[in-house]
């Protein structure tokens, strides 16, 4: 039995009928064709699927689409505004915070939310904030530097 959901994704209102068991990540990827959000473990351990749900960073692989009914979702595709990169995206590019890029959208969304809560985090606070996101390529050092860059950049503007 499909269920109707209404939500806002990257500022656009959406109405769809979905199976109650459809995962939010599959709704975003398969129905809305927003494939920037990735699936890395299906168990909310790797963070590749992280999106913002009403301003909170959540793992979209372990939420049902119906749980997002009435909410506002921001995905990696919604971070840049008017073609201008979000400071965290800029930081990842500037500091080589990505290699294969698969964890990157989740990592960037998590980092963006981390900076919303704490505009000037210490290295330790950054590491703590990224604890739910795995990266196998970069060894994290450049990711940490990317977040530091973004914090500094956002603080200047």
């Amino acid at each position: 039995m499909k269920k109707a959901i209404n939500l806002s994704v990257n500022g656009v209102s959406r109405t769809d009928e979905v199976e109650p068991r459809m995962l939010l990540v599959h709704y975003l990827r398969d129905v809305l064709e927003l494939t920037g959000t990735h699936v890395g473990c299906e168990t909310s351990l790797c963070g590749a699927c992280t999106v913002m749900l009403d301003g909170q960073a959540v793992k979209s692989c372990t939420l049902f689409a119906v749980q997002a009914d009435g909410s506002a979702v921001t995905t990696i595709e919604g971070l840049a505004e008017n073609g201008k990169l979000h400071p965290v995206q800029e930081g990842f590019w500037e500091k080589h915070g990505l290699q294969c890029g698969y964890c990157t959208p989740g990592m960037i969304v998590t980092a963006a939310q981390l900076l919303e809560r704490n505009a000037a985090p210490s290295r330790e606070e950054i590491c703590h904030g990224l604890d739910g996101n795995l990266c196998r390529c970069t060894g994290y050092q450049h990711i940490i530097e990317a977040v530091e860059y973004a914090a500094k950049k956002a603080g200047q503007s």
């Binding site: 494939t35 790797c46 990505l98 590491c127």
Partner: protein
């Protein structure tokens, strides 16, 4: 050539699509009407299959087909490319039909209209098993445990002895010897993107296109074409974005052939995306050796002989390179040292587990680890400083090319320079002093040193199963845009940028005018792929030489257009000029890669105007070469060149890593105080990318040394089947890395590049383990097996 880009920290050209979530990995490619595949996998490690009943699954909603082992019997075996004397090669079918050999072994493929329906129907396939005795321990497998492949009579796939020099005499004449049993924990590569395949067959055109998350698109095309019986030139393999590989996608898997075959049966696109649980069960593992290292040495610390006898846990089947991995260990047993006699004895054994194969480093981390651990043991025996024992045994820079007793010729090196630099950065003498003081106060501080050498740029074709060269085509289009087609298949390493840097400098063009294309067999000439730290040293060289060929032709056209003899025309800064001085006005400056914008003004081809000009850009010449109105006689139109580079030797990067740790008495927790790495990977194209490779490699070493191990229980059940149970390092686990470099160019290729992709996984584990062991030296500890967890450490502190 002007170095506007090479050697500089150029931001990556691949990043704008990746950081905005606009890149396409396999699962992001959507084709209308796609069917989804899910696999029924064995729940037992060793069993006979007595019946497979697919009727309930076939009746389930959305299910289109279910294939069992008998249905796919005509598909060829999963290939093993290793050729070793008397190697036993099991017949590795794409689906098991009579017996299963490991948990996760695929038994049936369910095809349905969506991924949920396919997954549901997997549970409706009824498999009847008759359980058989299981062997998971490699030494038990060798000693005559239950036989896995009955026709072989035992579990020994091969035995091999390698090395040079009189090993028995070395041990007989030694002042001292030391021996240690060493375990190399089995690891899961864990590329963040699991494997995935999308296959689309057009019955009319008889063309099959496969999108696969692989490191070797061309080799996969050849092998899959043979397995499923389609002409190789009717199969196109595309690797869109690949989310990491680390060797796990340097393979040809059963699922790849099956997806292609199923699409041909049904005439529809079919997709399979591996789950993480499947990835842990049925994507290759790495390492998995256990053996004894023995060293003979003199009282002054001079090494005279080294013997390593090892059991290699191959798993149930050979994947592409499974048996070859331990032989790479044998090649690198001389480490960075002069050792007159070396012997390796390998016993490769089948076990009821997933196959082991190439995981970042692939046999070389094992070599470096045992050699470096051995050097620490020698130092401990002699009461000497581990750094000094290493220094004593280095070959001098003048001794290169340096021949080892493992049969290699190291290309170039200055091992002492790297050691000196690392010691200087770390403040080694002070650290030792601090350690001495600290021990009196009860502090458990340890310092580990690793002076590694690795074998990279794989490699000369004589030493490689399927060719060790790499290819490139460089083409300048009529509009002056430069297209580079590389046979390498980067999946995160950044060669779209570093190859563009090479091309931009060699051609004197803006980096934003260059596009590097890879990973599409329909577009790119045959290539080998990305693995073994080879892409830049071998593939980058192919790009470089192809450009020289292209420039030879451009020079002739330029001379013709400038109405001068070719010898009078010089090339500088992207311009062909009659006088070298004219180059002063040539294009300089480095532009950064830019985010592409959607709107662009309409362009028009310029009219080629050469009359009265004293210089022409290479882009002017490209246009003239395509219009072909003003070419020298007998000149082919167009401006492109292809080169296949065959390296004459491997390259041998090296370096020194120093780890400093402190252990918490109360909890056994291990904390990094410092981590210094001085790596020498030859000439550096992009220092930022090199740092990234080193960081990532070291963190995988931290994983192996302190967190990661694939654990099977006695029944062969995978205990570490999710990322909850298999501990991949997170941001909080890493030290602040202090990196530096020495730069010893390789004479093996004209770029002088050596390779850096695996340095971190090769050089770091012994430094980390050495540091932990050193911290625990007051408890009489001389060696600990990986992963060294706080629990093990706590037990040593509290119970000795």
């Amino acid at each position: 050539m002007t170095n506007n880009y090479v050697g500089k920290r150029v931001k990556r050209t691949e990043d704008p699509r990746l950081i905005r979530g606009l890149a396409h990995y396999v699962d992001d490619v959507a084709l209308p009407g796609t069917l989804h595949v899910s696999f029924v996998r064995s729940i037992y490690a060793h069993a006979r299959i007595t019946n497979v009943d697919t009727s309930a699954a076939l009746a389930a909603p959305g299910v289109v087909a279910v294939y069992t082992g008998h249905d796919v019997a005509k598909i060829g075996a999963v290939p093993c490319a290793s050729a070793l004397p008397d190697l036993k090669v099991p017949d590795h079918r794409v689906l098991a039909s009579d017996k299963v050999y490991f948990v996760g072994h695929p038994i049936a493929a369910v095809v349905a209209t969506d991924r949920y329906a396919a997954r549901d129907a997997v549970d409706l396939v009824m498999v009847d098993y008759e359980e058989l005795p299981v062997v998971t321990d490699v030494e038990q497998a060798a000693a005559g445990g239950p036989v896995i492949h009955e026709s072989f009579g035992d579990n020994i796939a091969y035995k091999l002895t390698t090395g040079e020099g009189d090993i028995d005499a070395a041990f007989a004449a030694a002042d001292r010897t030391v021996k240690q049993r060493i375990l190399h924990n089995r690891l899961a590569p864990i590329a963040m993107e699991p494997r995935g395949v999308l296959a689309r067959y057009f019955p009319g055109e008889e063309e099959l296109t496969m999108w696969s998350s692989t490191q070797i698109p061309h080799l996969m095309r050849t092998q899959v074409a043979l397995m499923i019986g389609i002409p190789e030139n009717k199969l196109r393999v595309i690797t869109p974005e690949v989310g990491g590989g680390f060797g796990s996608k340097l393979n040809v898997y059963a699922e790849e052939a099956l997806l292609g075959w199923i699409s041909m049966q049904l005439g529809k696109p079919v997709k399979w995306i591996e789950t993480r649980r499947e990835n842990m069960l049925a994507t290759i593992h790495g390492r998995g050796q256990v053996g004894d290292i023995e060293v003979a040495f003199k009282n002054d610390g001079t090494l005279t002989g080294l013997r390593y006898s090892v059991f290699a846990d191959l798993g149930a089947y050979h994947q592409l390179l499974t048996p070859a991995i331990p032989t790479l260990t044998g090649l690198m047993l001389s480490g960075a040292y002069k050792i007159p006699a070396i012997q390796m004895n390998i016993t490769g054994c089948f076990t009821n587990k997933m196959a082991t194969d190439a995981y970042r480093g692939a046999g070389r981390p094992e070599a470096t680890y045992v050699v470096e651990r051995a050097l620490d043991l020698v130092a401990a025996e002699l009461g000497a400083d581990p750094a000094e024992v290493r220094r004593k045994n280095f070959p001098a820079p003048s001794e290169f090319p340096f021949h080892t007793a493992t049969g290699l010729d190291y290309d170039s090196g200055d091992y002492e320079a790297a050691l000196n630099k690392a010691q200087e950065i770390a403040g080694y003498a002070q650290l030792r002093e601090e350690q001495k003081q600290g021990r009196q106060e009860g502090r458990l501080m340890g310092i580990g040193v690793s002076t590694y050498v690795e074998i990279c740029a794989l490699g000369p074709s004589q030493a490689m199963p399927a060719g060790g060269w790499e290819s490139a085509t460089v083409r300048i289009e009529p509009t002056g845009k430069v297209t580079v087609l590389t046979g390498a298949s980067p999946h995160g390493q950044g060669q779209e940028t570093s190859f563009a840097q090479i091309a931009a400098d060699e051609l004197g063009v803006d980096i934003n005018d260059i596009t590097v294309i890879h990973g599409d067999t329909g577009v790119v000439q045959y290539g080998i792929g990305t693995f073994g730290s080879r892409a830049t040293a071998v593939g980058g060289t192919a790009v470089f030489v192809a450009i020289q060929k292209l420039k030879e032709k451009a020079q002739k056209i330029a001379a013709h257009m400038l109405k001068a003899d070719a010898s009078r025309v010089s090339f500088e800064g992207g311009k062909y000029s009659l006088e070298a001085a004219a180059a002063a006005s040539a294009a300089t400056g480095t532009s950064e890669p830019v985010v592409p914008v959607g709107e662009a003004p309409a362009g028009a081809l310029p009219e080629p105007q050469t009359e009265g000009k004293s210089s022409l850009t290479i882009q002017d010449i490209a246009l003239a070469a395509h219009l072909a109105k003003e070419l020298p006689p007998d000149t082919e139109p167009g401006l492109s060149a292809t080169y296949f580079f065959e390296p004459k030797n491997f390259t041998f990067p090296f370096g020194t890593h120093i780890a400093v740790v402190e252990i918490d008495h109360e909890t056994g927790d291990i904390k990094f105080l410092r981590y210094v790495a001085v790596d020498d990977c030859g000439r550096v194209i992009n220092p930022m990318l090199v740092d990234g490779q080193v960081h990532g490699g070291i963190v995988q070493s931290i994983g192996q040394a302190m967190y990661e191990e694939v654990v099977y229980d006695e029944q062969g059940q995978l205990v570490t089947g999710t990322l909850m149970d298999y501990a991949v390092p997170r941001a909080k686990h890493i030290p602040n890395f202090e990196l530096d470099r020495t730069e010893t160019p390789s004479p093996v290729n004209p770029l002088g590049v050596k390779g850096v992709g695996e340095a971190g996984t090769i050089g770091a584990t012994p430094a980390i383990v050495g540091a932990i062991v050193d911290a625990l030296a007051p408890f009489g500890v001389r060696h600990l097996d990986m992963p060294i967890k706080p629990e093990n450490v706590w037990r040593i502190i509290n119970h000795g």
